[in-house]
Symmetry: C2
């Protein structure tokens, strides 16, 4: 029974098989009848709810208000902005019938909402006093991806937030774009305990119509990079197309600058991948739906006392932690150990007759298996507090070391190709900004430039940027470099 | 300017026109390009967020876990349960194309999710230990209504929660159905301050395939009844159709009993209708996005001191209330009074040079316009606490009186017709349970039976039920009555 429930695929040898097994067995998601769609099960959903409430609080504190825009976008609206059409056309699900009637105009199930939100912004913004306007929605979106769908990481329907803002000045839009990226970083690093690289996407890989796109990239254990959040400075492109203008203080009409930014259920895929091991999921305490599971260990003759001891513990800890007491009589302690390890609960507390007699508790960490016996019952709450911080930090540190070890510099095209061929992770090099130089690499090893790290002088202070000075030539063509670039295979 | 912004339609004379104007001018919603769809603006959205967080907490405390099921339901899934097909077929929006490809099977945009959730329940439930299984999702749904769409009250796309549960016994399903109805009652009555009538829907008006459907009905000022929430005891009907079974303690296979229950953004329509007046929205304090607005009143020479006084007030009250300081220099105090009245904020605090000098505050209630001067600055927090309770209570009481005054008893068909013809509200009568008796009334006055109030002996104790004893004959046909029935025009 135990074996059947446990993970049977090795994460190193078969990361894809391992991922699928963990998603299913840890009760995170299930496959829907429509290919590429998923059912998010309660354990997975509570991870999303936690990300949502954390990020929602951050954006509300910084002037964003939630709204809800329609699921259906008339085809003619999508077509108003030709970059959007070209960017998303092959991925749109179309509604053609309502009840028994054929519709006069096809309706797109939103792949993203710029083209439905922009006309309303145009209508709602009258004067400079209405600016900045900052809107956000938590919604489902649909992209009819043809290939390689996987729960959370790439699904045809997914949940996300999409922020849409309008500003008087380009600086306002720049600051907004960077602020949201920083807030993504806080969620990914502090809540999910995943270190990341911040920067721009290359020109040819930015959002359709954007002035620039930023990304937060994280390195997965299989050596691929994943985009966990993205923000777009849209310049006046959308404002021009949708007539988003305002009257300035002199009563002159001006065109707004807009931004958009999104974070999706994909982050849960990154979380699973980044922290899981061959026993299943490992959850950082801050996001874990249950932080502590109490497993009572008893014989028939002392069952009642042990359970009472465990219940007292549950009650006390319940004030400060998300606690589960697993008192299911039909399962053995060993079964429960495996079950909760599979689910990724950060700390297990074992209480048996010995603990009861000594007025102690035994704790076991999920992240490294460390067992501590004889923790005084009276000190458990404080100890757990420390333990949670410690686990959160060491899970982050572990990945930071991995990230650090897997960024390799290369100074020529051959070195790039050789390094990518032999290693997982990022290859960092100087780049001239020319797409052809990227293509030369991409064609041979299916790795591409996933992020151009910020330079200190090109972003607001406080945002993490590349420390190493650039000065030098493009590793591929030898022309003058304009930026550092990180090549990687990616999701 | 003030007049243009204010409400120009009289609520009594033209409730529909009034409603539309309030929805637009109080920034609650806007019309989407697709007919019958709406944009929920931030002020409206925060009402939904408040309902959501209140109800979400209640259901989580009573064993429900959130999940997320796919937006798209294959046509063959819908067809597995023929009552569902017949009940929803004319209202389904169909996706026929993904990208440039025609799909092999049409996909329904979910009108409700029984038929997609049931197969998963069937898969996930193995033993009696998995029961009860209680799932809920917060989601958008689409019903291609042909007629009379209005923001919140009836839209083709709306937001809701849908709960779906499975139980070992019929009693378990009964209790679940009643528990959720009671929780709806708590939300509608305590949070939204709207009194309500609880009961069953008539047999011919229940959810397709349900054993019975309960409803929470509230009386709108135009005299129509609106269903604000509903729960369905589905018996074994869906469990049979979708094979939701479990192994009992003797390892015998048994069929589950299931329920479903939903509350939607329609409740916001009820809230607007129930409490609004000719100055706009009126919000009960518990749900108001802003409970207090502070309007500083100053001349150029004392501007700084007054603003400082107002800011101090804002800071202090911010700990206990949702406060807005309206310090917009471009608008007059009079303009602001009207603006915040339109938006429904329960209390306005005015602070000018006099208040500053006397260290006092002036308060004005939105619900009844009552003004109180000379409230001591040092006592304002306590006074406001009391004021909020008072407003919440008196808004409820006002509607309760209205409801009470508009329930009229009738003892014959002619009396029913006459009473409905002359009055708004409910006509209460004894009923034999025969649909034909309802039809005789319905055909003549377009009023129908909206609720059969619970009898004390047919529901768990604690649920509100009809006090008057039944004993007597059906008001229409004279046969023996089996229940009280409430006729009304409805939404």
């Amino acid at each position: 029974m135990t074996q059947e429930l446990g993970i049977t695929t090795d994460k190193q040898k078969d990361p894809n098989g391992w991922y699928t097994e963990v998603v299913k067995k840890a009760d995170l998601a299930d496959y829907a009848p429509v290919k590429g769609c998923m059912v998010i099960k309660p354990w997975g959903m509570s991870l999303w709810e936690s990300i949502k409430s954390e990020f929602d609080e951050k954006i509300k504190e910084t002037g964003v208000r939630n709204a809800y825009f329609p699921l259906f976008i008339p085809e003619s609206y999508l077509e108003k902005e030709e970059d959007i059409v070209e960017g998303f056309d092959p991925e749109v699900a179309w509604v053609t019938h309502g009840g028994n009637e054929e519709l006069e105009e096809r309706l797109a199930v939103r792949p993203t909402s710029e083209s439905i939100i922009a006309p309303f912004m145009s209508d709602w913004i009258r004067s400079h006093r209405d600016l900045p306007m900052r809107l956000n929605q938590w919604a489902n979106v649909v992209r009819w991806e043809a290939t390689d769908t996987r729960p959370f990481l790439r699904t045809r329907e997914f949940l996300w937030q999409e922020g849409h803002t309008a500003h008087e000045t380009e600086e306002g839009a720049d600051e907004e774009t960077m602020l949201r990226l920083e807030q993504y970083e806080e969620v990914i690093e502090n809540l999910l305990a995943i270190p990341s690289i911040l920067g721009y996407k290359p020109e040819h890989d930015k959002f359709p119509g954007a002035k620039y796109t930023t990304t937060i990239e994280t390195l997965m254990p299989d050596g691929k990079s994943i985009q966990s959040g993205t923000s777009h400075q849209l310049g006046q492109h959308f404002a021009d197309a949708f007539d988003i203008t305002y009257m300035d203080e002199n009563e002159d009409e001006q065109v707004c600058y807009t931004t958009s930014w999104g974070l999706s259920t994909r982050t849960i895929g990154a979380l699973i991948m980044a922290h899981g091991d061959n026993d299943g999921l490992r959850l950082p305490p801050r996001i874990a739906p249950k932080q502590v599971v109490i497993v009572p260990i008893y014989q028939e003759e002392n069952k009642e006392e042990v359970l009472e001891y465990a219940e007292g513990l549950e009650e006390e800890l319940g004030d400060n932690f998300r606690v589960e007491l697993d008192d299911d009589d039909s399962k053995s302690p060993g079964f429960k150990f495996n079950h909760w390890e599979l689910k990724g609960v950060p700390v297990r507390l074992e209480v048996g007759p010995n603990e009861m007699e000594d007025e102690t508790v035994t704790s076991v960490r999920r992240d490294n298996g460390e067992k501590q016996m004889g923790i005084k019952r009276s000190e458990i709450s404080d100890k757990l507090e420390d333990l949670m911080d410690d686990i959160q930090e060491s899970m982050y540190d572990e990945l930071e070391e991995y990230l650090h070890d897997n960024i390799r510099e290369a100074e020529s095209k051959n070195e790039i190709l050789g390094t990518i061929g032999k290693n997982r992770g990022y290859v960092k090099c100087r780049w001239c900004g020319n797409e052809e130089c990227e293509a030369e690499v991409k064609d041979q090893v299916s790795a591409e430039i996933v992020v151009l790290p910020f330079q200190e002088d090109s972003v607001p202070s406080g945002i993490r940027s590349e420390e190493e000075e650039l000065g030098g030539e493009c590793a591929v063509c030898g022309e003058e470099a304009v930026t550092w670039a990180y090549f990687a295979k990616n999701y």
